[in-house]
Amino acid sequence: MALIISEEQKMLKESAAELLKIKSPVNSLRDLRDQNYIPYDKSLWNEMVEMGWTALIIPENFNGLNFGYVGLGQILEETGKNLCKSPLISSCLLSSSVINLCDNEVLKAREFPLIMNGTKTMTLAIEENSYHKPYDFRTRAKLEGGNYIINGLKTFVIDGSTSNEIILVTEIAEGEIGFFIINREQKGIEIKNNILLDSGTYSDIKFNDVIVPKENRMNIKINGKELLKDILAIAYSGIASEMLGIIVESFDITVSYLKERQQFGVPIGSYQALQHRASKMFSEIQLCKSIVIKSLQSIDYGDKERYKYSHLAKAKLGKTIKLVTNEAIQMHGGIGVTDDADIGFYMKRARVLQQLFGDYNFHLDKLATLNKY
């Protein structure tokens, strides 16, 4: 596999860039925030639906576009560049992937059309405390009669405040992991919202004896643990794609600023200390680009090493996003710490993405563990 995107993927990426540039400059994020933290722009979301972004990873036999994760990754990179808020991650990257990888065909036929036409958004509830520990369950699903009874707490749920359906992953019996699709209106569900650093809303969702019919179990014969492993690889790579957009754009903004901003009668970009720091960032970004496309491709092609590549992607991007966004603010000087400047919004979103689905430390540790040391 050549490490490049195809002509088709390139066209998709360019059309996304065009739309978002007009419809979602950083200032629209500022506006949404200032209107008491509106989660996302619904009319823009409708346009995304029309562009087919909700159908990207859905197979052709369900009338999806089957563009794969390299395709979706290009879109996420562009939303990262524009700091555009939408349910793409929760609904398309995470939830559609779970539905697709599960073997509940009834569900697929029922839900895919609704996701694709934008009628429904969904989210995946995975974390159970403040840190990423995906295999450490304290929630429980108990089979009683024809229903599962679910109890426990899920945290850090993306778009929990707006999603119509919540996909819950939990332990059923020792070692048996199930995925369940649950409507947010279901009795016993208690949703508390948190506004985080990136002006996004993330929810803590409590399940109190929530009754879920057997048909809502998504993985029927498929091993839940293996499934979770694949969903995580998808999550890591997808989040890394958005991070790449943030890294690239905040670096570009900063390099432009270095050329414009005059101090001591010269552009500050003529100072060698800043030049070298910029060149080092440029170098790290080269690596970021390579691992993001590699990890997306490895998922599309079912490469055995996709787990490793997804850890590599989230680790490398996590380390680089911290470097680049910190440097970006510092190189902007005083203006960089004001709310009037866009660059601070990149730093804030970066910090949330770095935590989401495990930080640099988590993934570096996993990489060492994969190599048995």
């Binding site: 933290y37 974390e127 405390n129 403040s130 840190y131 945290t155 850090f156 508390k192 919202n193 948190n194 506004i195 985080l196 650093l197 990136d198 002006s199 993330y202 005059q262 101090q263 001591f264 009668g265 500050i268 100072y271 200390a273 800043l274 911290k322 910190n326 603010i329 510092q330 000087g333 005083g334 203006i335 960089g336 710490v337 004001t338 709310d339 009037d340 601070g344 730093m347 804030k348 910090r351 949330v352 935590q355 930080d359 640099y360 430390n361 988590f362 570096l364 540790d365």
Partner: protein, 397 residues
Amino acid sequence: MKSKTDVSLTDFRKETRAWLEENCPMSMRKPIKVANDFYWGGRNPKFSSEDQKIWFERMLEKKWIVPYWDIKYGGGGLSQDQNNILTQEMSRLGCRKPIYSFGISMLGPALLEFASEEQKMKYLPDIVEGKIWWCQGYSEPNAGSDLAGLQTKAVDKGDYFEVTGSKVWTSYADKSDYIFCLVRTDFESSKHNGISFLLIDMTYDGVSTRPIKLISGKSPFCETFFDSVNVPKENLVGKLNEGWTIAKYLLTHERQMIGGIGETDIKKKLHQIALENLPLIKGKLVDGILRNEISNFEMDEEIFDLTIQRVTDEAKTGNNSGALSSFFKYYATELNMSREELILALSGSDGLVFEKNYKSDGNLARKFCRSKGNSIEGGTSEIQLNIISKRILGLPS
């Protein structure tokens, strides 16, 4: 055998301690927590509590608002030894400052060094009595690191200067009575030579302010605009076009304050915060990278504190350490930023909460954001590194 001075200092300490214990209200001995805990004075002074008022008035009567200034300017006339004792005893009891004032910390030293006797008599006693709330007008949108590149101009109009331009990062400008400003008075000569130091009443016609919002949220910072403001010539401090000397004097002063020399650090140990948040396995933090980062941070933090002590001790033996203020400013702010990064990292998703909710007040994330300004305000880290390389290491330009 103790000398006479030693004896009298011992007595002074005893008396000071007794007076403070008797006169400082208990609520004024608690750490500053919210903005209201600061008393700033000014033309329309607002005390947030009766105790705050009592404490200010008692200290004013005792002449201990600025204990080390000359009595004729309203100071307490204490010797440096006595002043040190007073500071020590206040910090021992945890007494708050009776007033927080850039007049005392920033303008006062400049006036004492550069102003005419008439100006000293006019401004210093009001500073002591807290009658005027001063703010500082140095930086401009296009003159940040290159402070001397400032463009706010003061044109000589005979009796007065006509000031036009704007300043940025003027803390509390929207609440202040007066601003001390650097302005350009000569447009021909080299940029460092045409700057003057001017005092401007914020009520003059043509002065306006606009608050600055930071990435951390609200802030005391403002932009201040001057639209053909007439300023009497008597408001000039020091000689015309020689304001840069005053600016440099005050910048070194400011760096030392930011660098944290003499501040009592009561920050919680980072590893304590980690232990409250994170699980141990066999007595070690599970996240090995974080464990090492914390250990490395605490190493640097502890040794930096020792370095403040060492340099202070060396200064006492006559080794001048003035040039080191850039090192202290640089290192202290980098350390604080690392600290905030580590706190964020070890708090997981809880640390990301930005708006108050049922489990967090959002202060952690806001403090984190605010820390990003540390290495910029008061002279960027880059400027400090430039100064070290030129003034200490003697590297060529």
